[in-house]
């Protein structure tokens, strides 16, 4: 296995060739905020929180979806990046209906965590209050579109890990939403195996188990990576 070396925020780090910048950043003992990225799922580079600066380039790179290469000099935490990240988080909050106070994921929500990480103490952009629905038709789980940030983890885990492809994204732009089947109620979609992986990986309180109420959600985002490793490398995590 060949190894490449690069520099992240002044630290030299060596990673296996083919690693992403995000893996390199983590290998250097550093972190950048992420929302759409999840180990075990193919990256989409959609949330733009993990954008980093590459020396010698004008363009910002999504660390999750960019391959690290030899000799790169990466910066993950400049004032410019901090400003952009905070604005992105404000945009997330303002485009949905995120009310932490009575959310099932209060305390375990990755959007909430990211808001802390980027120092977002309020949104400069007015909340949009979109009209969105709640689908409680599934016997075990619910989907609250108000809390969805369109990270597509559910879409990807259902397609790439479970193989059922119950979910997809419908519409476009700010009308985008997650749909089950032919825009059916989740509970009516035959393809759903009720495995609950979408609920496990959902970063917010959009997908949750019905028995959970405020601040009771226990997500398991690590399961996507565990299943992928089990399937592809025959390695199980007890």
């Amino acid at each position: 296995m060949s190894v490449i070396t690069l520099q992240v925020d002044g630290r030299d780090v060596a990673v296996p060739a083919g690693s992403t910048l995000l893996q390199a950043i983590r290998a250097a003992g550093l972190s950048v905020p992420t929302l759409c990225d999840l180990e075990g799922l193919e990256p989409v580079g959609a949330c733009r929180l993990c954008l980093v600066e590459l020396e010698g380039s004008q363009r910002l790179l999504p660390a999750c979806a960019s391959e690290a290469s030899e000799g790169q000099v990466i910066r993950t935490d400049t004032a410019q990046l901090q400003g952009y990240r905070r604005m992105a988080v404000e945009l997330f909050f303002a485009e949905g209906n995120h009310v932490c106070a009575f959310c099932v994921a209060n305390g375990t929500c990755e959007l909430q965590d990211v808001a802390v990480a980027v120092g977002m103490d309020h949104s400069r952009f007015p909340y949009q209050y979109p009209q969105r629905a709640v689908d409680a038709s599934h016997p075990r789980f619910s989907l609250d579109h108000n809390r969805c940030i369109l990270c597509t983890r559910c879409v990807r885990v259902c397609d790439q890990i479970e193989g059922a492809h119950v979910w997809d994204v419908a519409e476009r732009g700010s009308d985008c939403r997650i749909v089950a089947g032919l825009d059916q109620h989740w509970g009516e979609v035959d393809a759903c195996t009720s495995c609950g992986k979408c609920v496990d990986v959902c970063p917010t309180g959009a997908l949750y188990a019905k028995e959970d109420t405020t601040a009771e959600k226990h997500p398991h985002p690590e399961r996507a990576g565990q299943l992928r490793r089990a399937r592809e490398q025959r390695q199980w995590t007890p």
């Binding site: 932490c100 120092g119 309020h122 949104s123």
Partner: protein, 200 residues
Amino acid sequence: MIAATPAQDPAQARPRLRLATVWLAGCSGCHMSFLDLDEFLFELAAAVDIVYSPVASDTKIYPEQVDVCLVEGAVANVDNLQLALTLRQRTALVISFGDCAISANVPGLRNLCSAPGRDSARTVLERGYLELADASGQLPFAPGIVPELLPKVLPLHEVIPVDLYLPGCPPSAERIRAAIAPLLVGQRPRIEGSSMLRFG
């Protein structure tokens, strides 16, 4: 309610801080949390003059020359709006106190209820006083007595400039203390990290 005890004043050299707390459209939970400061309330009382507060003062008119004001709640009606404008003029440092002031939070949920062509105020009033009423429903109308609802519930910073944001629903007593304590010695608190910043 909180008696001043000059003998214990920790900042004798400094003029006493004039502190106000304001309750707009919110559940008063932030103020309850403020009262959870327990014995720190004594220290606070020693260090500041509470010049306006629903829980610590009987003053009905927002006074002049306030140093710090903690504002709980969103701006939902004309009284909220008027008070917000007034306090901004008379206060050096305005703090959005809790999630309702910062994001409109739960009171802001009424913004989701707007029928086509009607603002959310009209929609919720019609829902509450006409559609769900028995035969004799009528819309409340009492100018000067019942404050009129604004078309939309707004966070405080969309109405007046805000100097500091203290999130939480409610902010815990520890968080409130950590925010107030530096102010007593003339420093600006650092609102960062999970202990100070988290919503909810």
